[in-house]
């Protein structure tokens, strides 16, 4: 097959898992390139010979791709072909290539300034050691804001879109016997073992294909290329109903009790916008009986001078690009290693027909299968040496190699310079222990493998393969079987037979502990040796932090920002710790450990939010009459989750005009309120009455059947938290009402006392809030209106104030309560909610002649304020007891049981003089309406801070009284009737008010008693 590879200068003629029959065009920094299906953005960029993919954060140095997976620190891209579909900070090594992909590099500064910044980085960089900003920008003080604005300009990698996200994301709850993280040899083997035994298995892998390390190596299993074995296993797994296979899925968080989150990329691997409204990403919330971490290992680069010049890579990444993507990211390779394993990169490079300049091995006498293979190929191996420095600016042009001492911490001979365009390094492998740390386990240093392995945990967690330091394929496969078998036996499932595939025999020599390659100059003077690329953390920086006294590794990390990038130090943390340890003359485990927190890799906010946003962010609760309110133009108020009609403007009415109309109509004739949202609790049992007496502040022992009573509910501290009317339906049967927002809290309050304190009381509580539609008709004509709809005698004689009666209203059986929150003659009609709208409409059919006017919560608030009735939550705030509210009439201190709140309201501070007390506030200017929340003072001329006496809780324009009405707290207010309070407002006005009774209208209560 002939392909036009001319534009992909680094693409090999053959090999890789890409589909060469599917070329794809993509755009990077405004220029079009070609790649193949199966590429990542990173492999396609490398194939096209793109060296610089970004500039570094602090020093603005050119950077290239160094790795091939989640550990990549540099290749952080902006993706998106339209404004709304911009995605910041996509790691090119994890982004599948798709046709039309648009990517650009993300730099701290605009492109035009890039070169300038590079220059600034070179010169100014010397003045920017770690923590430099703590040491400067302080003087003069007034300049800090200016300094800061420049600092902020440099912030950030990519950018957020300016338009709202068109994609949708969702969540799915999953349960399984085994969640296997990682589908490399260990994970696949574990999955196969478990699946064959009938276990419920989820296996997730961050890559687009299962296989892990097997996809990028030339290993043979059962005598065939490993990828074929992978294919067979995947095929078998897909045949099990109870196996869920999730490629393109990162397990990002491991939470307590084996709860894990997986971010599955559904469509964003092949489009920046999900086609046809499909789900872009799905967040799986998994509860697993057992978790198998088969997460593998990341290769550790070595730290040497100018190790950030494009062309410096991790050894294994070189192999991956060659074997998996058919890309050789350069021509002349120098490999530096402290171990045998990395030789494979040189072998792959050589076998791809490229030139291996040399293998530089820090060990004096390397021996093993791969070393032999290199020698067989005639590759030059320079032993006992290291690459101390790379040369070049925008691409590696050569290296300096020098002999090292046995400890690997000093240069002990002359430097040789060699030309090369690629430097691959390996300091060994770091197990990917991230998830194992998330629930608090501290990793343990293992000297054998020179890395941290998972610490002890009580989570039901098993680990297999390279995460344990079992780096060979043979070990990984057998550990996979073992952990699955262990889990199966714990789950009580019989283990079925699984044969281990046959692996090649590989001898590897001992690796050397090497992290930081010495230079001929001291670290502080040597060319920059980067430890954490993304945050420009250097070996010199770490040494400086230690010299300055930052001795804890946590201090070092925080001072230098090591590990705080979007890669969370996957490549650099251990090198950094090793450098700090050496500086502090300690071992690595003495220096500390490295703790990782969720997420393993960054997770899209939208995916975490799922569908719980927009109209589904929080339930909107509706009453049975909601559609009517909408139809009649109501404005709504949010009360808890309820949508309550607030007011009903007509035509061009302003809010105040609508309220005036509603208020006047109600007091003159009749108004109607949808009160269905009030909490309602059915209380039954022979001890119901006793219970009420314990939770309310007043007496309930003698409330007769057919009567209603208002009650205050307090906490043990004596502070009011809810109120409402409770009616005696029958001797052992009550209906309690609560505030709309307090219903759930009150029911829970009753239950906790019943279940934990007084289980001996025979009483049951059941919520009937939703069962009853409640409509309050209020006003002098409310009786006449009701009489039109019922045959029942609702006269004063037969149905007195605070009575309730069963009757039929508009053909529907109803419970009607003669209670009033407006001070008017009122009837609260309750019918089963399926008939609420019917009755509501019937009232309007008969209400026309009375000008029946619907009113909302605002008019309700005004009407009750005219009467001085409180609203719990508005006129109370958790710091006031019934006496503060002037409601001693609602407290019965004589009850035999010490009701909830009684003791609390008698504490020293609760009975002191001069507490804030709720009073009426009559503005001297009747037209002036006090703002709710205004703070009162006795002396408006007092200097700031002014002594305040209390705030306005409720304040309205009263159309009925043609003046303002208000309530508020005033220190000692109940004894200050007639005195003045001043309210200095933000606009400079001072409103003066007289302290008065809060009952502005009908103080004798005659209107409601007709």
């Amino acid at each position: 097959m002939t392909q036009d590879l001319s534009k992909q200068s680094n693409r090999l003629q053959e090999g890789g898992r890409i589909d060469r029959s599917k070329p794809l065009t993509f755009t990077y920094n405004g220029k079009q390139y070609k790649g193949f299906d199966g590429d990542t953005l990173a492999s396609a960029l490398l194939a096209n010979g793109v060296d610089i993919i970004g500039r570094s954060f602090k020093y603005s140095r050119p950077r290239g791709i160094v790795a091939a997976g989640a550990e990549e620190p540099n290749a952080i891209m902006q993706i998106g072909s339209t404004e709304a579909t911009q995605i910041p900070n996509v790691r090119a090594t994890q982004q599948s290539l798709y046709a039309g992909l648009v990517a650009s590099s993300t730099n701290g500064w605009p492109n035009v300034e890039m070169d300038l910044m590079g220059l600034v980085g070179k010169i100014g960089g010397k003045m920017m050691p770690p923590g430099f900003y703590y040491k400067t920008f302080m003087y003069p003080k007034s300049m800090w804001e200016t300094y800061e604005s420049y600092i902020r300009k440099a912030a950030g990698l990519g950018r957020a879109p300016k338009e709202n996200d068109p994609d949708i994301y969702d969540k799915m709850n999953q349960h399984c016997d085994l969640l296997i993280v990682g589908a490399g040899p260990a994970g696949l083997m574990a999955a196969l073992t478990a699946a064959r035994s009938g276990a419920r298995v989820i296996i997730a892998d961050e890559q687009s294909e299962f296989g892990g390390s097997l996809l990028s190596s030339k290993e043979m299993l059962n005598g065939k290329p490993a990828a074929e074995w992978v294919k067979d296993v995947v095929q078998e797994l897909s045949g099990f109903d109870d196996v869920l296979m999730l490629p393109n899925s990162q397990v990002n968080g491991y939470h307590d009790h084996n709860f894990l989150t997986i971010q599955q990329h559904c469509t964003d691997q092949f489009a920046d916008r999900a086609p046809n409204g499909q789900i872009a990403q799905r967040l799986h919330r998994v509860r697993a009986k057992w978790v198998v971490l088969a997460t593998g290992a990341h290769e550790r680069p070595l730290v040497y001078g100018n190790n950030d010049v494009p062309g410096c890579m991790v050894a294994n990444a070189v192999s991956t690009y060659i074997n998996r993507y058919g890309v050789a990211p350069g021509k002349d390779l120098v490999l530096m290693t402290s171990n045998d394993n990395a030789y494979r990169a040189a072998l792959d490079w050589h076998d791809a027909g490229r030139n291996v300049v040399a293998i530089v091995d820090s060990r004096k006498n390397p021996q093993g299968t791969f070393v032999d293979a290199a020698r067989d190929r005639g590759i030059s191996i320079i032993v006992g040496s290291g690459v101390i420095e790379a040369h070049g600016s925008k691409r590696v042009s050569g290296v300096s190699i020098a002999p090292l001492n046995d400890a690997g911490d000093a240069v002990v001979g002359p430097i040789i310079k060699m030309a090369a365009d690629t430097v691959a390094t390996s300091g060994g492998w770091s197990p990917v222990i991230h998830l194992s740390c998330h629930t608090g386990a501290r990793p343990v240093w293992n000297d054998e493998i020179l890395g941290f392995t998972p610490g002890a945990t009580y989570q039901k967690q098993l680990t297999a393969g390279a995460i344990n330091g079992a780096f060979s394929t043979a070990q990984a496969l057998s550990e996979g079987v073992k952990v699955a078998s262990d889990a199966l036996s714990q789950l009580g499932l019989a283990k079925s037979d699984v044969a281990l595939p046959e692996t090649e025999v590989v001898e590897e020599g001992k690796a050397m502990a090497l992290f930081h390659i010495p230079h001929t100059k001291p670290t502080s003077k040597a060319p920059k040796q980067f430890v954490d690329y993304q945050n420009d953390v250097t070996a010199a920086g770490i040494e400086l932090a230690c010299r300055e006294g930052f001795e804890s590794i946590e201090h070092v990390k925080r001072y230098t920002a090591m590990g705080f990038g979007t890669d969370q130090g996957k490549l650099g943390n251990i090198n950094g710790m090793a450098i700090a340890a050496k500086m502090l003359n300690q071992t690595i485990p003495q220096t500390g450990t490295t703790i990782f927190r969720p997420n393993y890799t960054p997770v899209t906010f939208g995916a975490i939010a799922g569908r719980d946003c927009g109209e589904l962010f929080d339930p909107e609760r509706y009453t049975a009459m909601h559609a009517w309110h909408v139809e009649h133009g109501a404005k709504f108020e949010d009360v808890g989750q309820w949508k309550r009609a607030w007011y009903y403007p007509k035509g061009n009415e302003t809010m105040q005009q609508a309220l005036d109309r509603e208020c006047l109509a109600t007091r003159k004739s009749v108004g109607i309120l949808d009160a269905s949202t009030l909490g309602k609790i059915d209380i039954q049992g022979k001890d119901a009455r006793e219970f009420l007496g314990r939770v309310y502040t007043n007496a309930w022992a003698k409330l007769p059947v057919g009567k209603c009573r208002y009650g205050l509910m307090c906490g043990e501290d004596g502070m009011v938290f809810d109120d409402g009317v409770t009616s005696c339906l029958a001797e052992n049967h009550f209906l309690m009402t609560t505030t709309s927002g307090g219903a759930a809290r009150v029911l829970s309050w009753l239950e906790i006392y019943h279940q934990t304190e007084w289980p001996e009381l025979e009483v049951y509580f059941n919520s009937v809030t939703d069962h009853w539609s409640t409509m309050t008709i209020s006003g002098p004509n409310s009786r006449k209106l009701l009489e039109k709809l019922t045959d029942y005698d609702v006269s004063k004689e037969n149905m007195a104030f605070m009575d309730w009666k069963p009757m039929t209203v508009a053909g529907v059986p109803a419970r009607v309560f003669r209670i009033s929150f407006t001070g008017e003659l009122s009837f609260e009609i309750n019918v089963q909610a399926n008939y609420g709208l019917h009755v509501w409409k019937a009232l309007f059919e008969h209400g026309e002649e009375f000008n029946l006017t619907p009113y909302g919560t605002e008019t309700m608030h005004i009407l009750r304020a005219e009467k001085g009735f409180i609203i719990a939550g508005q006129d109370t705030d958790g710091s006031v007891h019934p006496f503060d509210l002037g409601m001693s009439w609602a407290v019965s201190m004589q009850k035999p049981f010490s009701f909830i709140g009684k003791r609390g309201m008698q504490r020293e501070d609760c009975v002191r003089e001069n507490r804030k007390q709720l009073v009426g506030l009559k503005t001297i200017d009747p037209k002036a309406v006090l703002p709710e929340g205004a703070q009162g003072v006795l002396d408006p001329k007092a200097p700031v801070p002014m002594p305040m006496v209390g705030h306005v809780t409720s304040s309205y324009w009263s159309a009925n009284l043609n003046r303002s009405v208000a309530m508020g707290f005033v220190k000692g207010g109940l004894n200050k009737m007639g005195e003045r309070v001043f309210y200095p407002l933000a606009d400079g006005r001072v409103i003066e008010a007289e302290i008065c009774s809060p009952v502005f209208l009908d103080p004798k209560g005659e209107r409601q008693n007709v």
Partner: protein, 97 residues
Amino acid sequence: MFHIYCPHCCEYREEEEFHAAGQSHIARPLDPDACTDKEWGEYMYFRANPRGIHHELWVHAAGCRKFFNITRNTQTYEIKEVYKVGEKPSVVADEAK
């Protein structure tokens, strides 16, 4: 994210179905009126708040609505046992033994 065994539903459920309701076994004084301010304040507010074994009241809010007790290690978050209201824990902190 706790996985909590409800002793009434007799199975494990997700934490989202439950609410924590504070320290267990804080009995309301039988004669509040006889309590001093100090005693009453301690009943209302003062808590052991241990680092380690803790007995706490939870409610299966979205499930059976029953309150019950959990003995949990507040450091590791391991749940040691669950038991019904009125029962005594079998796992207690070392110094409480």
